[in-house]
Subunit: 458 residues, 2 copies
C-alpha cells in the first residue's frame, strides 16, 4: 500500500462512523462556547453581562454546594492512614476508614480491588437497598462502577446482539438524558423514542409506549426499556401505579428494564414519593417479580453531589447467572473502579447512624442541601411560569426544569433538542443548582432577554 | 411476542457474542480459584501451603509497596481542604493542592472536570513529556483517562471501521497484555499476532512483523500496530534502533501506532534505557515525524504503583484535528475521569523539584522502590534459570518475568496461554512484586513442586 506525506492514516472518512454520529448535548457546542466566553470575560472583553451562570449540568459542587463532612473525612483518612492516629477526626469516620482499608490488599487504596468493587461495599449497598425497599438484595447482584454511565454502557453492551437479523432496539424517553442516545448510537443499536406527556406533568403513558414499540418493530427488535425516575431532564416522579403499568408493559413485550434511579434522594414536591422499580416489581409478585432489571445509583447526585469522585453501583436483578458471569468478565477488562469513588459510594449507602459521632452533623448537612434544592425547585418553576409564553411543569424531583418557550441566550443551559422534544415545541434544560441569589439573578436576566425578544418579534 | 415465566429476556444464546468470546487471563478462572483457596485457608481447611502468594497482577501496593508520601498528602489535602491550614503538611504539597482546587469548579474535587481532564494537569503532563523527550508537547493533544486501559479502548474505538469491506486489523505482540486481545474481541476487530523472539530476549523483529501483516491482509485491513515497551509480560526494553525499524515498518504499512509506555520508569538492566516512540519518531524527521501515534502513561505502575486510583493520560500525536474533535466528543459521554486519579497523575508528571520541601523524601522513596524492583528482577530471573528445564530471559524492565517451562501450580501466577505463546511452548507470567522474602519463599515453593513433577513424569 502506498503512502504520501499529507494523508493521515485516520480521517473523518475512514473512522468509526458511529462515533461521528453520536451527540452529547450536555457537553456540546453551547457549553464549549460558554467556556470561551468565560475566558473572554477574564480578558476584559466587553459583554452585556459580567459572568456566565452555568446551569447546563447537574454539577452540585461547582454551583457552591458543600460536601458532606463524613464522606470527605473517610476519604482523607483512607488516603493518608497516618491520620487514623489523630484525635481530630470522629471515631465513626476512623473506624469506617479502617474497615475499608482492611479490605484493601496491602491495607492501601492504591491496590486494585475486585473488578466489580470491594465486596464489603457491595454488601453495604445490598443492605441499603434492602432497607430502602423492604425486599431482599444479594450483594452478588451488585457491581460498582466509576459512575452510573459506565454501568449503563456495560450492561447495554450485553444486549447488543442482532435477533432474527434485526438490530436491538432501546426504548428511551423523550426528553431523555443524552447518555442513552449517545451510547445507543455508539453501539449501533436502534433508538426507540417514547414521548413523555408534558401536558400531564411529563407522565409516562402506556399508549405512547405501545405506539412507539409497534412502530419500531418494523425495523428493529426491541429489547430494552429505559426509565429515568425521577426524570432527567423533566423532573417528574413516577407514581407507584404508573410504575406497575410500565412493568406490565415490559413483561408483555419481554423487555429488559433499565431503571435509572440516580435521583432517588431528590424528591421535593408534596405528595411525591420515590418507589424503586425493584420494590414495585417484587410487590406485584410472580411473574413480574421474576423479570430482569438493572437499577443504577450514583454518588454524583442526591444530597452528596460528588460528581468528580465517580462512584456508582448497578444492581442486576434476576439476571441469568451465565449472563452475569459474562458481565463480570466484561468489566474485569477495565480492572477496577476508582477506589476513592468506591469509598464515597460506601459512605452514601451506609451513612452515619443515630448514636454515632458524625450523625448529627450528617443529618444537618443532608437536610440543608435537600431543603435548599426543594426551595429552588419551586422558585424556578414559579418564576418561569410568570414569564409570558413560557410554561414549566413543577419540578417534583431530580435537579432540572425543562420549560417550554420560544428562544433563549446568555445563560449556559442546554437546548431541548439535545434531550429530544416533540416536533414544533422548544425547550431548554436548566439545573436548579445555582445558589438562590445566583438563581434569581439568572432568571431575571433570562426574563429581560425574553421580554425584549417578544417585544421585537411578536 | 409471547413470554413464559421461565425464559429469560437475556440469555447466553441471545447476548452479544463478542462479550462471550473475550478473555482476560489476568483476572480469569485461576485468579478466581486463588481467591477461593484464600477463603478456604481462612476456614482452616488443610492445604500443602499456608497462604497464597499472588504474583498474577502488577498490583504493587497489594504486595507491600508503600505509597509516595507527597502524592498521598496532596490527595488528602484536596479531599479535605480544611487541612490546608494545618502545619503538619509540607508547603509544596499544600500549594499543589491549592492550585489544583483553584482549577476545580467551586473549589471542590466533587465537581466534574472537563471530560479530557483538568487543563492544568494536561499542561503539567505536556511539560513532563517535553522534559523527558526534549521534543515539544502540546497539552491539547493530551487526554486524561481513568486508567490507561480506558484510553486505549477509546482510541481503538475510533479506528473501528471497515475499509474496502474488510474488518480493521490490530497488530499486537505475542506474548501480549490481554487488554488488547480482549478489546479487539469486544469491538469485533481482528487480532494480528506477531511473535516476540524469546531466543533474542523477546526482541521485536521486522521480518516477523512483515510475515504477520502479509498473512493478515488476506482476511482483514491492518490499521493499528501496538507496541508495549517496556514489555508486558515479557519485560524487555526496546533499543532505539529497534524502535526506528518499527516506525519505518508502520510508515510503509500506513499503521496508526499505539505505544503502551506505562512502564517507562521501570527499567532495571545495565545498558538499557527507555526511549519513547514519539522521541524517536521526531528525531527521525519527516515523514516519520508526521506519523500518527498515541502514547499511554499511567500512575498504576512506575515507582508510584497507585493502581486503585485510576489515573492515566494519552498523548495523541499528529492526529487529524477533525478526528481529535470526535475523540473529545466520544470521551465527553463518560463525563470525566476520577478527580483523585487526575490529581495522582499530576503528582507523577510534576513531582517535587530540588529545593522544594518534599523533594528529599520523594527521591528517597522513589529510589528505594525502583532499586528494590531492580534487585527482585535480577533475583527472579537468576533463580528461575537455576531450576532444571526452565529458562527465563533477563527482566530488563516492567514488573514481570515470563519464563518457559513445563507445568505449574500452587502460586497465583498467570498461565502463558492468556498472553499468547508460540505453539508447543509453555510459560507463565509472574510479577516481581512480592517483597524479597516472600519472593524467595515463592520461588522455593515453586522449585520444589517443579522438581517433584520432573521426578514423577520424566
Amino acid at each position: 500500500m502506498s503512502s504520501s506525506n499529507n494523508s493521515k492514516v485516520l480521517t473523518l472518512e475512514n473512522m468509526n462512523s458511529a462515533v461521528i454520529k453520536l451527540e452529547y448535548a450536555v457537553r456540546g457546542p453551547l457549553v464549549i462556547r460558554a467556556g470561551e466566553i468565560q475566558k473572554e470575560l477574564q480578558q476584559k472583553i466587553s459583554k452585556p453581562f459580567k459572568d456566565v451562570i452555568k446551569a447546563n449540568i447537574g454539577d452540585c459542587h461547582a454551583m457552591g454546594q458543600k460536601p458532606i463532612t463524613f464522606l470527605r473525612q473517610v476519604l482523607a483518612l483512607a488516603t493518608l492512614p497516618e491520620l487514623l492516629d489523630s484525635p481530630d477526626y470522629p471515631e465513626d469516620a476512623k473506624s469506617r476508614a479502617r474497615i475499608l482499608l482492611e479490605n484493601c490488599l496491602g491495607y492501601s487504596i492504591g491496590s486494585y480491588t475486585e473488578s466489580v468493587g470491594l465486596e464489603i461495599i457491595r454488601k453495604h449497598a445490598a443492605e441499603y437497598i434492602e432497607k430502602r425497599d423492604g425486599i431482599p438484595s444479594n450483594y452478588e447482584d451488585i457491581l460498582l462502577f466509576p459512575g452510573a454511565s459506565s454501568g449503563i454502557k456495560n450492561i447495554l453492551k450485553l444486549l447488543n446482539a442482532k435477533i432474527d437479523g434485526k438490530s436491538p432496539g432501546v426504548m428511551i424517553p423523550i426528553p431523555q438524558y443524552p447518555l442513552y442516545s449517545a451510547s445507543v448510537t455508539e453501539f449501533n443499536m436502534v433508538q426507540i423514542g417514547y414521548y413523555l406527556n408534558e401536558s400531564r406533568n411529563w407522565s409516562l403513558e402506556i399508549e405512547e409506549l405501545e405506539r412507539a414499540i409497534n412502530e419500531a418493530k418494523k425495523t428493529c427488535f426491541p429489547r430494552i426499556l429505559v426509565i429515568i425516575n425521577p426524570g432527567n431532564p423533566t423532573g417528574q416522579v413516577l407514581t407507584k401505579e404508573n410504575i406497575e403499568e410500565v412493568i406490565k408493559f415490559a413483561y408483555r413485550e419481554k423487555l429488559f428494564l433499565f431503571a435509572d434511579e440516580v435521583y432517588q434522594d431528590n424528591v421535593y414536591a408534596e405528595g411525591c414519593k420515590f418507589f424503586s422499580f425493584k420494590k414495585v416489581m417484587f410487590e406485584m409478585g410472580p411473574p413480574y417479580s421474576q423479570m430482569e432489571l438493572a437499577s443504577f445509583m450514583s454518588c454524583s447526585k442526591g444530597y452528596m453531589g460528588e460528581c468528580g469522585l465517580r462512584g456508582a453501583y448497578a444492581e442486576v436483578v434476576n439476571m441469568d447467572p451465565k449472563v452475569k458471569t459474562m458481565l463480570f468478565k466484561l468489566v474485569s477488562a477495565s480492572l477496577c473502579p476508582s477506589v476513592h469513588g468506591q469509598i464515597a459510594l460506601d459512605c452514601v449507602v451506609k451513612p452515619p447512624m443515630p448514636g454515632e459521632e458524625s450523625y448529627d452533623l450528617f443529618i444537618k448537612e443532608k437536610t440543608a442541601v435537600l431543603s435548599s434544592l426543594a426551595e429552588r425547585a419551586k422558585m424556578v418553576a414559579d418564576t418561569l411560569n410568570n414569564i409570558p409564553s413560557i410554561t414549566c411543569n413543577p419540578v417534583q424531583g431530580a435537579m432540572y426544569a425543562f420549560p417550554k418557550l420560544l428562544e433563549n441566550t446568555g445563560i449556559c443551559i442546554v437546548p431541548g433538542a439535545g434531550f429530544g422534544q416533540e416536533p414544533g415545541t422548544y425547550h431548554f434544560r436548566t439545573t436548579i443548582l445555582p445558589q438562590m441569589t445566583r438563581l434569581k439573578e439568572m432568571l431575571t436576566r433570562f426574563e429581560q432577554f425574553h421580554l425584549k425578544f417578544l417585544h421585537e418579534y411578536q
